[in-house]
Symmetry: C2
């Protein structure tokens, strides 16, 4: 391993000078800088991360806590994680991957050991047990998701309330009167992950204003479960003409079942999905959808964190505005009779 001292010797300067060339924290003459930079090149020097962390008490690492469960749409998680890693690198940070498994202990461990300078938490529950810890350490953090109490926290999330409202508006605008919401798996609601409830709230409130009748059914996804759910929906509300699907793994089963029952999309029933664009465009019917801006969320989370680490940045809740893209799965309500 090449050390700073060796670079210094090779360049004929002192160690501290090399350090200042690297960090830019003091001015260095052009000549010296170039000599040092050449030596670094020639020797293939890479600063030792441990020594750096020890001396500067900054590890240049951001911890990312991803959920262990896989009952939520995994590609979204992955996309966020990759966006976090990529964005972090552009700011000179690396990303430490923590699974939810260790729970609050992981927060203690990482904070206590100085392993990471900051944390990003995904899959935050309404009343998450990691939040008190986060508030009491002075380690910067950003949540992707929205807990019940956001005091002293920075959160980035899609505005799911507005998402729900947007779906209601679109369907109401097309003349629909009875709509069904195919929600996330029951476990997601039991866990109080918030986003599912927020979507539903937004949708219900706006529906009421617009005179829509809403039937909500959680659904685990998969064909068999979806078949049962769908049967119940039409049983209870035979005049349902609009569907809002929140659980991506229920989308394709729903479309297949509707087709099988001779209900054409979008002629007889309209379907809106809340899902990444990729899913919407690759489905068997090109889906009208509200996108989940996974990359954007990851990127924004990192940028807020970096701002905090630089002493800029404040506690703040960032809700990304939802965008509804009309594709081929929604249309005007069929004329009665």
């Amino acid at each position: 391993m090449v050390t700073l001292a060796e670079v210094a010797q090779h360049a004929g300067v002192s160690a501290s000078t090399v350090s200042y060339v690297l960090s830019g924290k003091r001015s260095i003459s052009a000549g010296t800088r170039q000599r040092v930079e050449r030596s670094i090149q020639e020797l293939g020097y890479h600063p030792n991360a441990g020594a750096r962390a020890l001396a500067s008490s900054r590890s240049n690492i951001i911890a990312l806590m991803v959920p262990l469960r896989t009952d939520m749409y995994v590609p979204v998680m992955m996309e966020i994680a990759i966006a976090v890693a990529t964005t972090a690198r552009t700011h000179g940070y690396d990303v430490l991957l923590l699974t939810g498994e260790e729970g609050p202990d992981a927060v203690r461990r990482v904070t206590g050991s100085g392993l990471a300078d900051a944390m990003i938490l995904m899959d935050v529950e309404l009343d998450d047990e990691r939040l008190p810890l986060l508030r009491q350490t002075n380690q910067p953090s950003v949540l992707i998701g929205l807990p019940a109490d956001t005091t002293g926290l920075t959160c980035v999330d899609l505005d799911f309330t507005a998402t729900g409202a947007l779906c209601a508006e679109h369907l109401a605008g097309l003349g629909h009167r009875d709509i069904a919401v195919i929600g996330e798996a029951p476990a997601v609601y039991e866990r109080h992950t918030g986003f599912a409830e927020r979507t539903l709230d937004g949708l219900r409130v706006r529906s009421q204003e617009l005179g829509l009748r809403v039937l909500h059914r959680p659904c685990e996804g998969g064909y068999d479960v979806m078949a049962v759910t769908l049967a119940r929906v039409f049983d209870e509300r035979p005049r349902t003409t609009g569907f809002v699907v929140q659980n991506e793994s229920a989308v394709e089963p729903l479309l297949a079942l509707l087709r099988q029952q001779g209900r054409a999309v979008p002629e007889d029933v309209s379907v809106i999905a809340v899902c990444p664009d990729q899913v919407a465009t690759q489905a068997s019917v090109r889906l009208t959808s509200v996108a989940i801006p996974a990359q954007e969320m990851g990127r924004r989370a990192v940028e807020h964190l970096v701002a905090k680490l630089d002493g800029r940045g404040t506690d703040e809740v960032v809700l990304l505005a939802p965008e509804l893209t009309v594709r081929a799965s929604t249309g005007p309500v069929p004329s009665a009779g």
Copy 2:
């Protein structure tokens, strides 16, 4: 931040004694050990990661390089990543998430800076540009995937050749004579990621032995693309009765299209997928499949790496035996006429 020295003072021993209690590298009397452990508890001590890394030249971090692209089945990647993180923790390691973006530079950076003690590389190409670097550093590494030349490397992967063979055997055993392989996206082949080609090789070789005729078509997934692909297949080989699908995002489109064309699965055509069990059981038809043991691969990769780090462990290629599970998508070939 609580330091070792403070713990030592609190417990009335020297710093080195506390260190030895922590590492277990020298024997410590029961009494002293207990006193130290109590002090650690009471003070809430966490060893500083940077200092540790500097003094011991071990960071207790494993770097995991995941592909940036998302043209491969993402949930598999995610499952591997999570298995890696979880398994690593049980061995006292944390995981650093690197994206493929930086390419070989990331390897240099991580190796050179001592940021990580070892690396796991996913999505390895046949002639991957990171491999020469890996061979010349003495940093332990494990590949998930199989490059062309494995000398001096440790690899963990599903035995895709055997997977292909297994599919051929199953279909041949059911009396099929003409089969089609719906492969990965063309980009995957162009990139020479190996696994797609290996599956095909295994399938072709065994098919020849068994007298099967094979038609291979790369396919990007999605309904429109699949429709075109399928039409061509039946155009070229009207008597095709068996399908092997390697691209998970082509599975559901294929099933839908077959249904739409009035070809019943498994009565008229049989379909085998190479995919995680979860996909196989949640599809519109319960799919006969060869599982991709993502968790197992992640776990094994870490265990090999830890073995190497402990001075045990050797360079070795581990190919996991494929397992075919018969479900409801394959059956005997329909009697002619």
